[in-house]
């Protein structure tokens, strides 16, 4: 049975949010009643389309933006659970995606002082900080782990 990339994407996000980690190719294939080859192909196409990022040399999902499969300096607490985000933009993207309140336990990358940011009823609170980009927007996907 073939499997649509959209179905794989939605299943991946659903399981990531429910389990706190993305499904493996085998897990997604079993849940979607698809072949592992079919899901692996979808993972590859989703990466090529800059929808997800796979860990180098593997089919393991590293990023399904805004979610990170590995711990980062951006834990985000929401009513659905606590998740790691890839960066401060993605950290704010988690409550935006879920349509709920959230608290980002960020800290200043320079001095380490707490820089908590709260989203309440669609408004941002406690955000006095700034977020720098190192490379221009057109080159973000040259190396999405370093923007």
């Amino acid at each position: 049975m073939t499997v649509a990339d959209t179905d794989v994407r939605l299943h991946l996000m659903e399981r990531f949010l429910a389990d706190g980690r993305p499904p493996s190719v085998a897990e997604a294939a079993a849940a979607l009643e698809a072949t592992e080859e079919g899901v692996a192909g979808a993972y590859g196409r989703l990466q090529d389309a800059h929808v997800i990022v796979l860990a180098p040399g593997s089919l393991d999902v590293w990023m399904a933006n805004p979610l990170s499969a590995v711990p980062t300096p951006f834990p985000v607490e929401t009513e659905r659970g606590t998740y790691y985000a890839n960066c401060i933009w993605d950290a704010l993207g988690i409550p935006a995606m879920l349509g709920c309140d959230g608290t980002v336990a960020a800290s200043c990358a320079d001095c380490g002082d707490p820089l908590p940011v709260r989203i309440r009823n669609g408004e941002i609170h406690g955000a006095g900080g700034v977020a720098p980009f190192a490379v221009p927007a057109a080159r973000w996907w040259d190396n999405i782990g370093h923007t």
């Binding site: 951006f74 993605d90 993207g93 200043c108 990358a109 320079d110 700034v130 977020a131 720098p132």
Partner: protein
């Protein structure tokens, strides 16, 4: 992309690593970007923004200039 208390802290952090400056935005602008980017991510109909659409989001938040350009200059 990291978070900093202020532009001064960005400068100190970059100087310690001998890195050049790119561009930065406030966390209020980051929230605007995050909402525009992710509010519909769980919808079946979601698709990536085109370069033109993304530039419109940037511009709507005051993020303009070559740094934020995604399409080649004409």
């Amino acid at each position: 992309m990291l978070a900093f208390r202020s532009e001064e802290h960005v400068d100190w952090w970059l100087a310690a690593r001998r890195l050049g400056r790119g561009a930065s935005f406030t966390l209020e602008q980051a929230w605007g970007l995050a909402h525009a980017w992710y509010h519909d991510r769980l919808e079946p109909s979601w698709r990536r923004k085109t370069a033109e659409e993304a530039e419109e989001v940037f511009a709507g938040l005051g993020l303009t200039g070559d740094f934020w350009r995604l399409r080649p200059s004409e």
